[in-house]
């Protein structure tokens, strides 16, 4: 029988449990209680909590709470990247929920009291085994979880215990994000994806400003992780946040004054330029195992040399970027930008579309962009030049951003399938583009080698050559799937969805 989990309310959970009367049954604490400091771990973006789990570590081991099978245990270790962890049940469970690119980091310290309890009857027979896990982060920030598992044949006793616990106010769900929020309220903000409140009658100016402000803050929060080089996703998230700011500036035309828009575009573009090369190198190094697997064994040593060169270049690039991010100029620029959006009415110049109602504004922008995607796609067949495919990719990306920006104004159940359908098309277009970009970059690298001599260079060239062949094949495969992928996106249900949500009376006229 599977265990049931309860969140026990109150500051003195053990006393409350001991006082509980379930007919003639009582909860008795077992002598094997343990009490000690514990560290909670998660990724920067809270992937463990988002999966409904809580990861704890102490001197006795790693414990992963939640999940269908209850807690799992593993020998003590400091968790980092899941792939680097020792084999065990915790690692196996984390493998399914944590991205291989994310490192698990300490998010806070607490005290953990582990108190086994037994629900025993009038014969002193154990009917239900319980485990109280009381986490206390000090200052009345505490969470108590009770795991209860009936011995075979004693399901009814567990049901009655559950009733008693419910009467105490216990709820039966391990709310992992809630646990983190209670213990470490300061982490809440960091985990949160920017959630921007908007209504159809909010002004376009307000929506744009709120989105930009939230993403500037998000970009700022990722900076310490980039500097400490915790994992590659801090920089990735940083760039996505800035890219979203730039797409608001370019897609929400006329919301800010023209000169203001141009100035902002240039400044955010400059911020991103700084980080571009490091991200490219990260992508190569992330793909290293996949690339090595794709080429014949004979050329792998050469490719290995290439990756060594990338790794060395990355180290230098990371040093430069860290210095830059910690420098006064960067801090000043970020502060200035943040300030603009903190007091937009006083500091930002409004454009002609500033006062448009966001609902109407969104529908017009999305419908227009959707029509453009369809128009370009209609012109693509298997012989169309690649440039058209790139154009389709860019339009799709813009459409995706618009859908995501404005999603809070539309019914989730109706918008989500559209985003999902679009995402599938984008995956194919993305692969096509990544292969093209990487081939161009590697070809450049190959030319750079020509000036040099020596066996090392020759071997590297062979490796690059093999990789180029594979990437070319991959790109062709993706290209061959473009037409079918658009046809799938162009399904009647998706068409109808776009039309129903975004086609305005004015646009149809």
């Amino acid at each position: 029988m599977s265990a049931r989990w309860f969140v026990v309310p109150g500051q003195r959970p053990l006393a409350a449990l001991r006082a509980l009367r379930i007919g003639s049954n009582r909860l008795h604490p077992a002598p094997q209680a343990a009490d000690g400091p514990v560290v909670l771990f998660d990724t920067f973006d809270g992937q463990v909590a988002a999966a409904g789990r809580v990861l704890l570590g102490d001197a006795r081991g790693l414990m992963l709470l939640g999940g269908p099978q209850g807690p799992v245990w593993q020998d003590p270790a400091v968790p980092g990247f899941v792939a680097d962890m020792a084999d065990g049940p915790v690692r196996a469970a984390l493998g399914g929920i944590v991205s291989p690119l994310r490192r698990l980091c300490p998010i806070g310290e607490a005290r953990l009291l582990r108190q086994p309890l037994a629900l025993r009857d009038d014969l002193d027979k154990t009917r239900v085994r319980c485990d109280l896990l009381a986490l206390d982060a000090g200052g009345r920030r505490a969470v108590a979880l009770l795991r209860a598992q009936a011995l075979r044949g004693y399901g009814p006793a567990l049901a009655r215990l559950a009733e008693g616990l419910h009467a105490l106010g216990a709820v039966e769900r391990l709310d992992a994000p809630g646990v983190i929020a209670t213990l470490f309220p300061e982490r809440q903000e960091q985990f949160a994806r920017p959630a921007i409140a908007m209504a159809p009658d909010t002004t376009a100016f307000r929506v744009a400003t709120d989105i930009i402000r939230a993403h500037i803050a998000l970009a700022r929060r990722t900076e310490p992780g980039i500097i400490d080089d915790i994992d590659s996703e801090f920089l990735h998230d940083h760039r996505v946040a800035l890219r979203k700011v730039r797409s608001v500036l370019s897609l929400f035309k006329g919301v800010y004054g023209a000169a203001q828009t141009d100035d902002l575009k240039a400044r955010f573009a400059a911020l991103m330029t700084r980080t571009g090369r490091l991200r490219d190198l990260d992508v190569y190094l992330i793909e290293r195992p996949a690339y090595l697997a794709m080429v014949p064994e004979t050329v792998r040593p050469g490719l290995g040399l290439l990756f060594e060169a990338f790794a060395a270049e990355r180290a230098a690039e990371h040093r430069d970027l860290s210095d830059h991010l910690q420098g006064d100029a960067h801090a000043r620029e970020m502060r200035r930008l943040a300030r603009l959006f903190d007091k937009p009415d006083a500091r930002l110049v409004r454009g002609p579309m500033a006062d448009r109602a966001a609902g109407d504004f969104a529908r017009r922008l999305i419908w227009k962009r959707y029509r453009r995607v369809c128009a370009i796609a209609a012109s693509i067949d298997d012989r169309t030049p690649d440039a058209q495919v790139h154009a389709l990719r860019i339009q799709c990306k813009k459409l995706r951003y618009l859908l995501e920006f404005f999603a809070p104004m539309f019914p989730t159940a109706e918008v989500r399938p559209l985003i999902r359908a679009l995402k599938k098309l984008q995956d194919v277009l993305g692969t096509f583009n990544d292969c093209a970009v990487q081939q161009a970059a590697l070809a450049g690298r190959l030319q750079g080698l020509e000036a040099a001599r020596g066996a090392r260079k020759l071997e590297m060239a062979k490796g690059i050559g093999a990789l180029l062949t594979v990437l070319d094949q991959r790109q062709r495969d993706a290209r061959a799937r473009v037409v079918a992928s658009f046809a799938a996106f162009d399904a009647p249900a998706t068409q109808a969805g776009f039309r129903a949500l975004f086609k305005t009376a004015k646009a149809s006229a």
Binding site: A118, L123, D124, K125, A150, R152, G153, Y154
Partner: protein, 247 residues
């Protein structure tokens, strides 16, 4: 799944204590064990604090797999579950007599209901009846506690005769000396004589007469639970290993 019956056609030989402690020893050794109490007095259930089964009345034990499995209770000891008896078990002979293939019914019921376990240990009532015969046919091993006295020696002989006369496999019978007292000359002589007479049917295990075994009723737990270092607990561990070595 192996079926191990604790059986004696003589009462008061420590049969229930054997089944509880043997089942506990096997569970401690890592097996998933079901202790199935066939004795309507329900002493095995009593030792493990499990109340008599309410819904496994009359012939349901043999006919209703669902009720059989629903009646199983987890004991307080890891991997050891119990199927408690109730008073209607006293009529097992009557139920079996009414059923077709009565001698294979028990085996069928145990195989169907005890499929989750590595071993099913039976605590049997002390008689040679239809149920007894069913036990002899179902079991992979029949563990017989023998107090080294003249009377026990006689009943052990009777059991072997019964097996011979009814074409049952004698090699299933695994006797061991129970409640043996080293200070008694009679015990020593009987053990020596019986070992010579039944060299293959007696395990090299002696569970001594020990107050710890008597205290099981007080603690309502297997000996190894409250006196793990005791001679008796160690003897039951040896008994478990010796039985497993034979099946």
């Amino acid at each position: 799944m192996k079926i191990i019956a604790c059986y004696s056609n003589k009462g008061g030989v420590g049969k229930t204590a054997t089944s509880v402690n043997l089942a506990h020893a096997l569970a401690r050794d890592g097996q998933r064990v079901l202790l199935c109490d066939l004795d309507p007095q329900g002493a095995a259930g009593f030792y493990l604090r499990v109340k008599p089964s309410k819904n496994l009345k009359d012939d349901r034990f043999f006919k209703d797999v669902q009720r059989f499995t629903d009646a199983i209770r987890g004991s307080d000891h890891d991997r050891l579950d119990v199927l408690p008896a109730n008073l209607s078990f006293r009529d097992f002979d009557v139920f079996l007599a009414r059923m077709k293939n009565s001698r294979s019914r028990l085996k069928k019921a145990l195989r169907a209901g005890g499929g989750d376990y590595d071993s099913v240990v039976l605590d049997c009532p002390p008689n040679i009846s239809t149920l007894g015969e069913s036990v002899f046919r179902a079991a992979d091993a029949i563990v017989v506690p023998v107090i080294p006295t003249t009377l026990s020696e006689r009943t052990f002989g009777q059991l072997l005769d019964f097996f011979r006369d009814n074409g049952l496999q004698k090699k299933k019978i695994l006797g061991f000396f129970s409640m043996a007292q080293g200070t008694k000359t009679l015990h020593g002589q009987t053990m020596a004589r019986m070992r010579a007479a039944y060299p293959k049917r007696l395990l090299d295990v002696v569970v001594p007469f020990a107050s710890d075994v008597e205290k099981m009723g007080l603690h309502r737990a297997p000996v190894a639970d409250f006196a793990p270092a005791s001679v008796a607990a160690q003897a039951y561990d040896r008994l478990g290993r010796a039985v497993m070595a034979r099946i």
